[in-house]
């Protein structure tokens, strides 16, 4: 059993979860993730590590309520969950590369934080850009600002910062011939692909954090396989962060939709059910 230290809905539909997991807190590196299980009957749910504190023995993740499991986690009133496994996946290498753009959307606003911090501490010039549909959906701003040389907020409706999305800002920066050596994007697959579409022809080494459906997270099942540079790779052990130029996006989208029908039905069913109670 793993103790939930706190669970907070930071903005509508996005939750911050702090869990006691001292061994993971001690080993965690930026870019890695954990797998959670709510209980024995639960799914094995992958979430990006957003923060950790070895002294307190705590880890932080942000999750978006999208389906049955994340709904259950959001509404959980127990103080424990049955499993936290990790840290999994390959960390990013935090060296000095020069000027780096880091973009986060949705849960990626949480997920990008340890990479921002590590790259800043490694002596890079860090430009952080986050996106949300509207100002009330932005979170984690102060933590990100602290480690960013420039911190840019975008909103779809223009209620805060620039109107638009991360890729719009990236596009403008490139147009202005601003020097960018590297870029990292975390968010939904569509957001990452859009961002990469802006950087790809401009000699900017771009990395994205893939989120294919997973089961074990240890390279045992092959569920998370992606086509990277013409080769089948397992995102849970070879990734989840890959260089964007090599990724077959089409396969990624299609494999991620594999259970959408079943999941949508069950989610609706459960949502109605719990409303009645």
């Amino acid at each position: 059993m793993y103790e939930i230290i706190s669970k907070t809905e930071v903005v509508p539909n996005i939750y911050e979860l702090i869990i006691k997991a001292p061994e993971i807190a001690e080993k965690a590196k930026p870019g890695q993730f954990v797998i959670l299980m709510i209980d024995e009957a639960g799914e094995r749910l992958p979430f990006t590590l957003s923060d950790w504190d070895a002294k307190k023995g705590a880890i932080t993740i942000y999750f978006l309520e999208v389906g049955l499991s994340t709904m259950t986690l959001a509404r959980l009133d127990k103080k424990n969950i049955s499993a936290v496994i990790g840290p999994l996946g390959k960390p990013v290498s935090a060296e000095k590369f020069g000027t780096i753009v880091l973009g986060g959307g949705c849960y990626g606003i949480g997920g990008i934080y340890p990479i921002v911090k590590a790259l800043k501490e490694a002596g890079n010039t860090v430009i952080t850009i986050i996106e949300a549909r509207s100002s009330y959906l932005l979170y984690n701003k102060e933590k990100l600002r602290k480690y960013s040389d420039r911190f840019i907020v975008t909103t779809g409706d223009g209620t805060k910062g620039e109107k638009g999305k991360v890729h719009d800002v990236v596009k403008i920066m490139i147009k202005r011939k601003e020097k960018i050596n590297r870029a990292y994007f975390i968010g939904c697959t569509f957001m990452m692909m859009n961002c990469f579409n802006e950087t790809k022809n401009h000699d900017i080494t771009t990395f994205v954090a893939l989120s294919p459906i997973m089961v074990d997270g240890t390279g045992m099942c092959g569920c998370c396989r992606c086509l990277v540079d013409g080769e089948t790779k397992f995102a849970c052990v070879d990734g989840p962060i890959f260089e964007a130029k090599d990724i077959d996006w089409d396969i990624l989208f299609k494999r991620n939709a594999a259970y959408s029908q079943q999941e949508a039905m069950i989610y609706q069913f459960h949502s109605c059910e719990s409303r009645e109670v």
Partner: protein, 468 residues
């Protein structure tokens, strides 16, 4: 009873669930012997002077001895007799390929049917467990030495069981949330009820083995940590061959194409067949195709049938005689209506606009000259391609060495396929580190993994005692 009378008794059949019923449930297929049938079957043993059966068994189970105890009606003693050399008789009685081991060498098999050794092994182990006759064995005094076992498959469980009895402080680290390795995540409930595996693990825990689940060694902790921080005196690596193989053909990344590992893990470990009570989903194919010819293939095919497929076809590139699966499983699969398409090999998978698999293109094969494994090599027949309709494909073509752990141990010698190099005692190239089971031999059998565990436990004991 004299030999003539013995020879008159025919091999006893074990009652089974009817194929049409069991194809729709996950309950065990063979139902077990009654005490009467078991005794009758055990009486068939001729008590050979030089019992050949024993030589066929990789861990030399005292077969004629335990059969004699069955005839005498002391079933618990029979179980203990087996356990002198084999700690998991309820498992082995169900999943060992007896027809190529003990039963293959039983003298009765020369002219007729061999003694049903496997079924009797299962019988006594079940009897002992169901009647609460399992005794916790006496432990030697505590040695105050710590051994870490990485992986809770049959090899790891054996090492833990042997060393705890010798007085060691034993901790098992398991990556998954349930212990048992392939016995839990791979082999389905209808072949090996999970309650049996749980009882075996429980038995070890009762003896004092510490079980740490959800610990991925190499990620959560390194082997170096085990020595330097946790103070273990020796480490056994029994991590199995947990890397799914694919064929590298066009279309393999379409959705509804599974590795057998994923398909079986979703069903057995995550209980996807109970979706949505259990939260992990699985695609429900109507027309399922499984590629391969081993136990993994049979298990996947039979799970597909049990989750509602109307048609399940196995595509295998060699002939029936060369299928590595247990005879009984092939027989059961066919009884349940699974179609075997032998001497065929997939060359391409074709999807629809949503990226889900719809068709499989295959090529016909014929048998050529024997290959390294001694089996006749299948060769494609040119121009014989044809297309099958299918809405779910499972690749059951085998597994390789998972590099997650070994890649964190640069000093550990591996062979060219990534398996750990170990001698017959399981000793690796690194001091204090042993390995055994599928991570050394490649995909093999439960009993071979247990055999490797036994050797390693002995060697670890003498290493800790003598420093060698």
């Amino acid at each position: 009873m004299d030999v003539k009378e013995k020879l008159k008794i025919s091999r006893q059949k074990m009652p089974e669930q009817d194929p049409s019923v069991r194809a729709k449930n996950f309950m065990e297929v063979p139902l077990g012997f009654s005490t009467k049938t078991a005794q009758l079957e055990a009486q068939r043993c001729l008590n050979c002077k030089i019992p050949k059966c024993k030589e066929g068994c990789p861990v030399y189970v005292k077969i004629p001895e335990f059969l004699k105890l069955i005839v005498e009606g002391d079933f618990a003693a029979a179980a203990r007799k087996i356990k002198e050399t084999n700690a998991l008789p309820a498992v082995c009685g169900r999943v060992c390929p007896q027809e190529s081991q003990c039963e293959a060498t039983c003298i009765l098999g020369k002219k007729g049917d061999p003694v049903a050794i496997g079924r009797l092994e299962r019988f006594v182990a079940d009897y002992e467990r169901e009647n609460n006759l399992i005794k916790i064995p006496k432990k030697q005094p505590a040695k105050n030495k710590k051994v870490a076992v990485v992986g809770s498959g049959p090899s790891g469980l054996t090492v833990a069981g042997d060393l705890i009895k010798l007085g060691y402080d034993v901790t098992i680290f398991e990556a998954l949330h349930k212990p048992g390795g392939v016995l839990i995540y791979g082999i389905p409930e209808f072949r090996l009820p999970k309650a049996i595996v749980e009882a075996e693990v429980d038995y070890l825990v009762k003896q004092g083995v510490k079980l740490k689940l959800n610990k991925v060694i190499g990620a959560s902790r390194t082997v170096e940590d085990l020595f330097k921080r946790d103070g273990f005196d020796a480490v056994f690596l029994g991590v199995g061959a947990g890397l799914p193989r694919f064929m590298n053909i066009e279309g393999e990344n379409l959705s509804n194409v599974y590795s057998a590992n994923e398909y079986l893990t979703r069903i057995n470990l995550m209980k996807a067949y109970l979706y949505p009570e259990h939260y992990t989903p699985i695609a429900l194919g109507r027309n399922v195709t499984v590629v391969g010819g081993g136990n993994v293939t049979m298990d996947s095919a039979r799970c597909a049938l049990r989750t509602g497929a109307q048609k399940v076809t196995i595509v295998y590139r060699r002939a029936r005689e060369q299928m590595p699966a247990r005879g009984e499983e092939i027989h059961h699969a066919e009884e349940e209506g699974i179609i075997l398409k032998l001497l065929n090999n997939p060359v391409e998978l074709i999807g629809d606009e949503k990226g889900a698999v719809k068709k499989m293109r295959c090529i016909k094969m014929k048998l050529g000259e024997p290959d390294e494994s001694g089996r006749k090599r299948p060769v494609p027949i040119e121009g014989s391609e044809f297309t099958l309709n299918t809405d779910l494909v499972i690749m059951g073509i085998g597994a390789g060495a998972n590099p997650l752990l070994t890649s964190t141990m640069p000093d550990l010698e591996l062979n060219k396929w990534g398996y750990i190099v170990a001698d017959e005692n399981g000793r690796t190239s690194m001091e204090g580190i042993w390995a055994g089971g599928d991570i050394v031999t490649g995909s093999a059998t439960v009993i071979q993994a247990m055999g490797a565990g036994k050797q390693a436990a002995k060697a670890i004991d003498s290493y800790i005692k003598s420093g060698k």
